[in-house]
Amino acid sequence: MNENGDRMSIIVQTIASILFPLALIFSFYVIMHGHLTPGGGFQGGAIGASAVALLIVAFGAKYVEGKMEEENLSIFESLGGLVFVIVSILGFFLAATFLTNFLVGEPLFGIIPAWGEAPLNSGGVLPILNLAVGMKVIGGLASVVLILAIASKEGEK
């Protein structure tokens, strides 16, 4: 540990702040392409949480906790869960049963080609559900990492 508390050197901090938005973009890419390519909500969410872990390593848990409070992450997580259940319930209000893909055939999301490469706006409700899972995983995993980092720092003292 150096004079900056639990922060690492200025080089690491700079690189981390450059990489953080890139990692988030990659996370978002994996989440939104969940219905087309390998990966999906969980995998993309784990990438997003690892971006937060990168910040914790570079800047220290205290600083990151000050910037994004654990409570906010919990709310983010709850919102993800809510979106998932609400979209599932809409399935039987708008179509047939719970979890029905009611956006299939709609112009914005529902274009499903018969075979071959599909555009991003295919898959009906799947991208929305993937996004919900992604929100839940980012929120949940990031708050777990944050709490563990803070708890282990307090344990050292």
Partner: protein, 517 residues
């Protein structure tokens, strides 16, 4: 859109959506959060009652997630069920009713003693309810595993919720280790089935097995059997139960009994529905022996305890033993073991006693746990050596405890007597020794509970205490009322709830044809 058709999905969705809303509402107002959780569980309770009514009227109900029609179990493009199917028969209906009722009582009780961190507590509580009722609703083996995991993780967190002592954390960790091992067993078995048949639906797998077991089926059977026996706390795998029940907050100890019974339900589903007549007769014999071991270990270990909740937890192990003993005897006759026993159809009676005892166990032990939780809440003391003279200040609690102990020991006007007498009579047909051990264990249980009643409630007044809070008292009185009601009129429950459950277990063909057509 006919809302009645969507009941199974709504029963899962409403507690789930409230679980995610709770942390958000908790930031605004604590009172609003309590009202929200209460209303959502009340609605779920009403929906479960409607669903159970529907099952008894119309027979088995299936609900297919994401299909164009809720009852389209096999899609037109495929020859097998590929979607998640929820399937509710008499047994699931019976278990659902128990689970949601106990959760509701537990929720009312918890309003009295959950002060800090309520947002997290109620989120976890609702997730536990979702896991429990999900296990009883689903007709899909992988779905069962998912709900088992939801249940395990949320209950492990709830067991360690009030972490004042190191043993609380130990209990939580023990529980999560046991749960992970059994969940992995289940996942492995699901993988084996999927590799062999390309199927995950329980009815479809039962249809494929159809009386002849391959080696893979046998491996999967052992895995599922041991995993659910472990989660249900049957004798050699009972060691997590005293810790978990003993350390959990008051209301959770009671709801945990209902969660172990959800695992027992899964065990029944595996034995009676998936494998049914292909099961080797060694499994019911194993169940009978494990049940005897549970009774013996539970009663003898309860003698040694001086912690009030651990003592009741060991009594709970013994009560699970009674259920397993009766169900084992029922399964033994179901497979045609014991000529006279099978020909007299005493096994149906044994099965009835076992299923009825599931309800009675959770009411009796649940009431004792609630009273014990109230005593610990008021006196901050859990050692029998330091408690005493509480009947002076806690009149109602002492009477309720007396009712609970009479019910657990199987004394006549209580419900425990109603189911235990059926069990004693019917298992006599398998072997008289079983009945003798069961009766003797009940007598020892009575002796233990008289001893702790004496230790806690009688004697000179040691310190000034008030009565327990009114939410606690209300939930205890509901349970005590049901205990006496079921004891006086056992026929009402036997006829309306237990008989359909037993019939559902025996008529596995209907469960299969409800999905396979």
């Amino acid at each position: 859109m006919n809302l009645m058709e969507h009941l199974p999905a709504l029963i899962i969705a409403i507690p789930l959506i409230t679980a995610f809303l709770t942390p958000l509402v908790d930031r605004a107002s604590k009172k609003a959060r309590n009202v929200l959780v209460f209303i959502s569980l009340l609605i779920t309770f009403i929906l479960v009652v409607l669903l159970v009514q529907r099952v008894f009227d119309k027979g088995i109900i299936t609900y297919v997630m994401g299909a164009s029609n809720p009852t389209e179990t096999i899609p037109k493009q495929a020859a097998v069920p590929i979607r998640i199917v929820l399937e509710i028969d008499g047994l699931s209906a019976f278990m659902l009713l128990i689970s949601i009722f106990i959760s509701f009582i537990g929720l009312i009780y918890s309003f009295a003693h959950i002060k800090e961190g309520g947002g997290r507590f109620y989120t976890l509580f609702l997730l536990m309810v979702v896991g429990m009722i999900g296990m009883e609703l689903t007709g899909d083996l992988f779905n069962l595993f998912v709900f088992l995991e939801i249940l395990s993780i949320s209950s492990a967190a709830l067991i360690a919720f009030e972490f004042k002592r190191a043993t609380t954390i130990e209990a939580g960790i023990k529980y999560i280790i046991i749960s992970s091992i059994s969940a992995l067993f289940v996942l492995f078995a699901v993988g084996l089935f999927y590799g062999e048949y390309d199927l995950l639906n329980m009815a479809a797998i039962a249809n494929e097995i159809g009386g002849a077991l391959s080696h893979i089926d046998k491996i999967a059977l052992i895995l599922l059997f041991s995993a659910f026996a472990m989660k249900a706390g049957i004798a050699p795998m009972h060691m997590w139960m005293p810790d978990a029940y003993g350390e959990a907050p008051g209301a959770i100890s009671m709801v945990l009994i209902a969660t172990t019974q959800a695992s027992l339900y899964a065990l029944l589903r595996v034995c009676f529905t998936i494998y049914n007549e292909a099961l080797h007769v060694v499994f019911p014999i194993a169940l009978i022996l494990l049940g005897l071991a549970s009774i013996f270990i539970g009663v003898t270990m309860a003698l040694l305890q001086d912690d009030i909740k651990r003592l009741i937890a060991y009594a709970a192990v013994a009560e699970v033993g009674y259920i397993v003993l009766a169900i084992g005897a029922g399964l033994y006759g179901f497979l045609g073991g014991g000529d006279k026993f099978a020909s007299l159809e005493m096994w149906k009676v044994a099965l009835k006693g076992g299923i009825f005892h599931i309800f009675n166990d959770v009411l009796d032990i649940g009431l004792l746990f609630l009273v014990a939780g109230g005593i610990i809440y008021v006196t901050k003391e859990r050692s029998l050596n330091k408690l005493g003279g509480l009947a002076h200040s806690m009149k109602y609690s002492s009477i309720l405890f007396l009712i609970g102990l009479a019910a657990v020991a199987g004394l006549p006007p209580m419900n425990g007597f109603a189911s235990k007498i059926i069990i004693y009579e019917s298992i006599y047909g398998v072997s008289p020794i079983l009945s003798i051990v069961a009766i003797l264990a009940s007598i020892v249980m009575l002796a233990i509970f008289v001893k702790i009643f004496h230790a806690i409630f009688t004697g000179p007044k040691l310190a000034e205490h008030g009565e327990v809070p009114k939410y606690m008292l209300a939930s205890m009185i509901v349970l005590a009322g049901l205990i006496i009601f079921f004891g006086l009129f056992p026929d009402i429950v036997l006829k309306n709830l237990v008989n359909p459950a037993v019939n559902a277990l025996m008529e596995y063909g209907k469960y299969i044809s409800a999905v396979m057509g």
